[in-house]
């Protein structure tokens, strides 16, 4: 039995791919601003880089984004190998990752999740729906984009965004 398990493990080897490189700073002019931004970025990465805890909330997706979030944990992306971990509660999360439009029924639960997270906290909206309401838009049942409810720091477009998009 252990031998049979070892075979696929050994044959497959290490599939993990190098992570995408961080984007270059987008400051238009050099100088003080850029230096400051770089300092903030470095400080941020030194604190969160190797240990970022993500709480993912789906307030109304079609479940396509969820499938791709799961894929981040597979051997190819191995997001935990980068020190980034999906956690099961808001109390120990640094980042709230929201996929999908916010359904009216999830409005309260999403806000409460955000409130339950300790500061400082980041919010990332993932997918077309999270960024702009997507095909579901705004209606009696859908609040549309996440940024209308929570302070969104980063938006990741795509329907759904492939793992590794950023």
């Amino acid at each position: 039995m252990p031998w049979r398990m070892l075979r696929p493990i050994v044959r497959v080897g290490i599939l993990t791919e190098p992570p995408p490189q961080p984007l270059a700073p987008q400051s238009p002019a050099g100088g003080k601003d850029e230096a400051e931004q770089r300092a903030i970025r470095e400080e941020f990465m030194s604190i969160f880089g190797p240990a970022l805890a993500i709480r993912q909330v789906d307030p109304g997706t079609c479940n396509g984004c969820g499938l791709e979030m799961h894929a981040l944990n597979n051997l190819y992306y191995n997001i935990e190998g980068l020190g980034i971990k999906f956690v099961v509660g808001p109390r120990h999360a640094d980042l709230l990752l929201v996929t999908g439009p916010v359904s009216a029924h999830m409005d309260t639960a999403l806000r409460r999740t955000y409130e339950a997270m300790p500061a400082p906290k980041l919010v990332v909206a993932v997918g077309e729906c999270g960024c702009n309401g997507g095909v579901f838009g705004e209606s009696y049942a859908s609040r549309g984009r996440v940024a209308d409810l929570l302070p969104v720091d980063v938006e990741v477009r795509g329907c759904p965004p492939a793992p590794g998009t950023g």
């Binding site: 398990m5 497959v12 079609c62 051997l75 029924h105 579901f136």
Partner: protein, 545 residues
């Protein structure tokens, strides 16, 4: 479906080119025994018939369908006050002879209620509650009149699927209390879970009543992801609606697109070219495999066997990457479009798609042997979350889960349709109805789908992959019915006089299977719930709409 009625093995779709809409809706000889109403045939790949009924016939048909061993698929309300001056309610049943769509105009002095069907079909309950929430039409005499899809986000007297609301109204969300059924007794306590779950899962609420570890009762509360899909479809052109229909449930996007396109093509009095239909089937089988791979990995993980998760998810990733290479999208979204498929596959791509199957089959067979031989995994799988055949029939369990409970319906095998009639689909079945049976059916379906993909790739007919799609300018109604990986998906569309969508209804097999999960967990321990839940892996979005 029972086996006492001969299956209809005539191909439903005419092959001699587009016909006038009028002749497509010609009366047929189709009858329901003991029911005096005239059916018209709805064209499409599968046999489907539609008739208007009276209240008495609505009740009688329900009993007839039950006695024939048929299943209730879905119920939906329609506001036809503009065109016909009344509301209507419709029901779809599945029989060995095909789909039956019955339409009940609520014309008499009781314009907003219709006879309850729950006494015959338990699964009608939630569907009827949804009709009451969205269309304001009530099943008279139904025991459970609690709201289902409406929580407290919009007022009780706001019915989004009626013609008055634009659907763009916005209301303040209120706090609400939902009257869950309570269980009392010595040592009984409740565990409330959700709507936000401890993982990357869609939102829903589960209320367990337990004694110690043992589950006495589970009550589900769904509707959290309701985002008004059906209202949003109203007024769209058929072309516009395709993207939305593809996003009813992302894990079944291929199936929904195909079902939507079947209905659309019938309404446009055309049909997709043969090659496109074969390619659609290839995508549907790829989708089935992707979902089974993912779930088999997650099931291993829920049984504390992380090796299974790692192995199956690497296979799924490679599979999804190949889908992206073949059709340009990892989940194959928006590849199936009205008229055909968005791009053709070159001979080289077909060769790769076919070669992949051989390699994947060997790897999955090895992993299956590891699961089978692992005492810890089998200890968690065997006997857990059982739904026996009798209960499965009673609840109208559908799709993969039904086949694991010995109730074998599979639209691909039960009806002769293009291209499945040429492939001779082998139905995969098990009888035990437990987690192990659902795992076994998933393994079997992977092998069968791999065989189908190889055959589809090797024998793919030549020709175009897109048909011209005349834009309809008049009323009409049509349906598309497809065996998705989870079970049957049904999309019905009614057009208004301008040829725009007046009402579209999308049905997910999760409607039938969610209540079965409530039964499956009874007498199991709480820690086995995630395992049982994953073995079904039902869609929240698909049922919440």
């Amino acid at each position: 479906m029972a086996n006492d009625e001969p299956a209809n093995h005539g191909s439903a779709r005419s092959r001699d080119g587009p016909l006038a809409v009028q002749s497509r809706l010609a009366p047929t000889e189709f009858r329901l025994p003991g029911l005096d109403c005239a059916f018209t045939r709805l064209l499409g790949p599968l046999p489907m018939h539609r008739a208007q009924v009276t209240r008495a016939q609505w009740r009688a048909a329900c009993s007839v369908v039950r006695s024939l061993g048929g299943r209730l698929v879905t119920i939906w309300g329609i506001d036809r006050r503009t065109s016909a001056g009344h509301f209507a309610v419709a029901v779809a049943y599945a029989l060995n002879s095909g789909l039956v769509w019955l339409d009940l105009p609520l014309t008499d002095d009781d314009p907003t209620s219709y006879p309850d069907l729950t006494a015959t079909f338990a699964c009608a309950g939630r569907l009827q509650r949804a009709v009451a929430d969205l269309s304001g039409l009530n099943a008279s005499g139904a025991a459970d009149a609690r709201p289902w899809l409406r929580h407290a986000a919009w007022p009780e007297d706001y019915f989004p699927l009626r013609r008055e609301p634009s659907g763009r109204e916005r209301f303040e969300a209120l706090d609400e209390s939902y009257p869950f059924v309570t269980v009392t007794g010595d040592g009984v306590h409740e565990i409330a879970v959700g709507p936000v779950h401890a993982g990357i899962i869609e939102p829903g609420h589960f209320r367990f009543s337990v004694v110690g570890e043992r589950v006495l009762r589970l009550e589900q509360r769904l509707g959290y992801t309701h985002k008004g899909i059906e209202k949003r479809l109203e007024g769209m052109s058929l072309a516009q609606g395709a993207r939305l229909a593809a996003r009813v449930s992302g894990d079944s996007t291929v199936a929904y697109s195909w079902a939507y396109c079947c209905a659309t093509e019938t309404l446009c009095a055309t049909e997709a070219p043969l090659r496109a239909q074969w390619l659609r089937a290839m995508a549907l089988e790829r989708e089935r495999i992707a979902n089974h791979l993912g779930d088999l990995g997650a099931l291993g993980n829920d049984a504390a066997f992380a090796f299974g998760l790692a192995q199956f998810w690497r296979l799924r990733e490679a599979w999804q990457r190949r889908s992206a290479e073949l059709v340009g999208h990892r989940l194959m979204m928006d590849w199936i479009v009205p008229g055909g498929v968005a791009s053709d596959l070159a001979p080289q791509a077909l060769h790769i798609a076919s070669e992949d199957c051989q390699a994947l089959e060997a790897q999955v067979r090895l992993l299956e042997s590891i699961y089978d031989a692992h005492a810890g995994v089998q200890d968690r799988f065997v006997g857990t979350g059982r739904v026996d055949a009798q209960l499965a029939r009673q609840l109208n369990l559908t799709g993969m889960a039904a086949r694991a409970s010995g109730v074998g319906t599979d639209l691909r095998a039960d009806f002769a349709s293009i291209p499945y009639e040429a492939l001779q689909v082998r139905k995969v079945q098990a009888n035990e109805g437990d987690v192990a049976a659902r795992v076994a059916v998933r393994f079997g379906e992977i092998y069968e789908s791999l065989r189908l993909i190889r055959k589809l790739a090797q024998e793919l007919p030549a020709g175009p992959t897109m048909a011209d799609l005349p834009v309809p300018q008049s009323r009409g109604c049509a349906a598309g019915w497809v065996e998705a990986w989870r079970g049957e998906v049904l999309v019905t569309i009614e057009l208004d006089e301008r040829g725009l969508i007046a009402r579209a209804h999308c049905h997910d097999p999760s409607w039938q299977n969610w209540p079965a999960l409530e039964h499956a967990v009874i007498d199991n321990i709480v820690p086995d719930f995630p395992l049982i839940n994953k073995s079904f892996n039902l869609s929240y979005s698909g049922q919440d709409l």
